[in-house]
Subunit: 408 residues, 2 copies
C-alpha cells in the first residue's frame, strides 16, 4: 500500500495581483510595458538607489570594529532613534515626553503583522479595519487573515479625477466606534484647515485608532519633513497611534526590508507596556531583525553631511517624477486626447492614478500589452524616454476606442 | 476630563530567560562569567566569524553589477538551492526527484513561525508538539502561542550523564498518533543501528511528523555532511517533514538571521502545493526576506575554493571546542573533583550539559557569579584561557559544598 501524504489536502494557493508581473514576463510583445513596479526606477529603468548608499555599504563592509552579534530583540537602538527623529523631527513634543517608541521590523509587512497581532490581542474593541483599496493587498490581507473585519475605501474621486478628502470624512463618520483606520498617503490629500479640524474631531469622538503607513518618506514632496508633517496634528491632538515606517524605498535598498512599527501613547509608562508586548510578538516572528539595511540607514542619518546628500538625492527623484508627469500630460495634449489631464500633475509621489476607466485599462492591457493594476494607479517612474511615446499614444488610442464603442 | 488610553489594559510582558544576560550585565563582581551565549565565541571571547566572510562581504559591497531590487517572495533562489544541497548533499534522492524545496526565512524563529502556521491550518490532526526542554524557549513558545499542545521532553539522562536515545524512543511510543516532533540535535544522539530501526518504524506507524532543527550545521562533528547524515534515513524511509535550516551560526553572521524552512514531500506536486501555501503565509509575515546574509552565504557555497576555506574554518571551531572540553575535564581531574567528567567530552557541539544538579547550579550562579541556564547546558566556547581556572575551581567548590550539605 503506498503511503498517504500528510499534505494530501493542501491545494495550490490562489495568486495575488503580483502575478501581473509574471504574465508580463511571459509576454513576448515588442512594446510590452510594466507600469506596476513597487520600486522607484531611475531614467534607465533600473531600481533607483540614493547615490550615498553604495559608498556607505562599502564603508560598513570595511569597518573592522563592527561585530556581527545578534541584535537586541527590539532591533538596533540607534537606528530606531534616528528613524523616529526623521519621522517626527528631533524636537517633537511626544519624543521629548518619552512617549514615542518603535520596534525595528522586517519591512512593512512585518510592521503591519506585528501591529495587527498586538491589536488583535490587546484592543478587542477595535476589530474593524478600514483600508484604502490599493493597500488591500498586502496590508489589508494581514488584518483579514488575523480575523479582523476589513473594509476597503478610497479617496480617489474617479469622476472628478482628484484626491477627495470628503470621501475619507464620510467613511470615518460611518465607521463603527473604535475602528482602526490604515491611513497611507493622507499627506497627499491636501485637506483644508477646516477639513483637518473636522477629521480630527470626528476621529477623536469616535475613538478611531489610526495606523499610519509611511512607505517612502520624502517621495511625496521631496522634503522629508513636509511629507510627515500631518503626524504632528495627531500628536498635538493627543491621539495614540501606530505607524509603519518603511525606510527601504527612501534609500533604494529594496532587498533589505527595513521597517519600524512606531508607537505613540499618552505617556511613557503605557509606551513601555506596549513595547514589551510587541517584543514578545516579534520574538516569535523573527527573534531579531536583520541589520545590514538598518546599519546603512543609521550611518546616513547620523551624519549631517551624508544626510544632506541623501535628502538632495530625494529631491532629484521627486523633480524627475514631476518631469515625467508633465511630459505625459504634454504628449497627451499634443495628441489631442480628449479630457483634462491636470490630475496627473496634481497628484504627488511615484504612484498616481491615470484616471482611466475599466474599459480603457483593459484595452491597454489586452491590446497594447501595457500592464496596469486594476486600480488604475501606476508607477510613473516606469515611464521614461524610451517608452513614453508608446504609452501616451496607447492611452490616446484606448480613450478614442472606448469613446467610439460607447458612442456607438 | 483626561483622555483614556487605548492601551490602559496592556500589562508589561513577562520576561524570558534571556534576562539572565541582563542580570549578568548588571552584576559588578570581578569574576562574573556568562556561559549562556547563543553564539560561538572565539578564544578572545568575541563572536566567531568564519575567516572567509569579511572578504566576501567586501566583495559584494564592491560589485556594481548587483541590484537591490525586492527579492522574489520565496527568497533568493540560488541561496535556497545551494543551502538544500548543503543540507542533503547534491545527489540526494529527494532532490533528484524534485520533492525537496524551501522558503528563505528570517532566521530560525521565522522558519518555525512559518512552519507552525502552516501545520495549524493544514494538518489539523497534528496539533500536539513534542520539543526538547532546552528548545521550549523560543521554538516551543511559537507553537504554544498558535494554540498547539506543547510537551517538553529531554534525552539527556541526568543520572547516567549521557544522551540517551531510549528516552526519545519512550516519548515517541507514548505520544499521540500524528504528533509533531521538533528534533534538534538528534545527530548528537549516537543511536545504534537497532535504535534507528526502532525509532523510524515507531514514528512511521504512529505517523509522527518530524520538524527538524539544524541550527548550526558543521558545529557537531566539524563535517557538514556528517552533521546532517541522519536526514537521509528519513528521506529513504519515505518520511515527509519540515526542517528549520539556520545558516547564520555556521558562518558567524548572527546579525543577519538567515534561515530556510525546508520541505520534503512524497512527490513534486505536493511540494508545489505546500510551497504555494507557505508563500502566502510568508507574504503576510515579511513579504520578502532580507538578502545580505543570503548573498554572503550563496557566494561562499557556490565557489568550491571558498566553500573549502569555510569548511576548514568549521573544523577549527570544532577542534577548539574539543580542546576546551578536554581542558575543563583535565582541570577538574587535577583538582580531584568527585565524579567522572567523561560526559563533557562525549557530547558534541558548542552547547553541552555540565551534568550538575540544581543545587550545584544555584551555588555557581549565586556564590560564584557564573551565569548558567536552569537546564545546566552551557556554551563551552564561553570558556577560554582567562576564565577556565575560575570556572573549574568554582565547579569543584560547588560540588564539594553541596556534597557537604547533603552528607550533613
Amino acid at each position: 500500500m503506498p503511503t498517504l501524504s500528510v499534505f494530501m489536502d493542501v491545494p495550490l494557493a490562489r495568486k495575488l495581483e503580483g502575478s501581473l508581473l509574471k504574465i508580463y514576463k511571459q509576454d513576448n510583445h515588442t512594446h510590452k510595458t510594466f507600469l506596476a513596479y513597487k520600486v522607484c526606477l531611475n531614467s534607465e529603468g533600473e531600481p533607483w538607489t540614493s547615490s550615498v548608499v553604495p559608498k556607505i555599504r562599502l564603508q560598513i563592509s570595511r569597518d573592522p570594529s563592527l561585530d556581527y552579534e545578534y541584535m537586541p530583540e527590539m532591533g538596533m537602538k540607534s537606528f530606531i532613534q534616528s528613524s523616529l527623529e526623521l519621522l517626527f523631527g528631533k524636537h517633537n513634543q511626544a519624543i521629548m515626553e518619552n512617549r514615542v517608541g518603535g520596534l525595528h521590523t522586517v519591512g512593512e509587512a512585518g510592521a503591519f503583522q506585528l501591529g495587527a497581532q498586538f491589536l488583535k490581542t490587546w484592543c478587542q474593541d477595535s476589530q474593524t479595519v478600514y483600508i484604502i483599496s490599493s493597500q488591500k493587498e498586502h496590508h489589508g490581507l494581514i488584518f483579514q487573515d488575523l480575523g479582523f473585519r476589513v473594509y476597503e475605501h478610497s479617496f480617489w474621486n474617479s469622476k472628478q479625477l482628484c484626491v477627495d478628502p470628503d470621501m475619507l470624512l464620510d467613511v470615518v463618520e460611518q465607521a463603527p466606534h473604535g475602528s482602526i483606520f490604515v491611513l497611507g498617503n493622507i499627506g497627499n490629500c491636501k485637506l483644508t484647515q477646516n477639513q483637518w479640524v473636522n477629521l480630527l474631531s470626528t476621529m477623536k469622538i469616535k475613538q478611531i485608532f489610526p495606523f499610519f503607513d509611511i512607505p517612502c518618506q520624502g517621495f511625496l514632496t521631496g522634503d522629508v519633513e513636509d511629507d510627515t508633517r500631518f503626524l504632528q496634528y495627531f500628536v498635538c491632538h493627543g491621539f495614540e497611534f501606530f505607524c509603519s515606517q518603511f525606510l527601504s524605498k527612501s534609500f533604494g535598498i529594496y532587498d533589505e526590508g527595513v521597517g519600524i512599527l512606531v508607537v505613540v501613547t499618552l505617556n511613557n509608562q503605557l509606551l513601555l507596556c506596549v513595547l514589551s508586548q510587541l517584543k514578545t510578538i516579534s520574538r516569535a516572528l523573527w527573534l531579531t531583525p536583520p541589520t545590514m539595511g538598518a546599519r546603512i540607514i543609521t550611518s546616513i542619518l547620523s551624519n549631517p553631511a551624508l544626510q544632506g546628500e541623501w535628502k538632495q538625492s530625494l529631491k532629484g527623484v521627486v523633480e524627475n517624477i514631476m518631469l515625467i508627469k508633465e511630459k505625459v500630460k504634454e504628449k497627451l495634449r499634443l495628441l489631442g486626447t480628449p479630457g483634462s489631464w491636470e490630475h496627473i500633475t496634481s497628484q504627488t509621489g511615484t504612484h498616481s492614478y491615470l484616471g482611466l476607466n475599466f474599459q480603457q485599462l483593459e484595452y491597454l492591457v489586452k491590446k497594447k500589452h501595457i500592464y496596469i493594476p486594476k486600480s488604475g494607479r501606476i508607477n510613473f517612474t516606469c515611464i521614461n524616454a524610451s517608452n513614453i511615446d508608446y504609452i501616451t499614444e496607447s492611452i490616446n488610442e484606448a480613450i478614442l476606442y472606448t469613446k467610439e464603442v460607447n458612442d456607438f
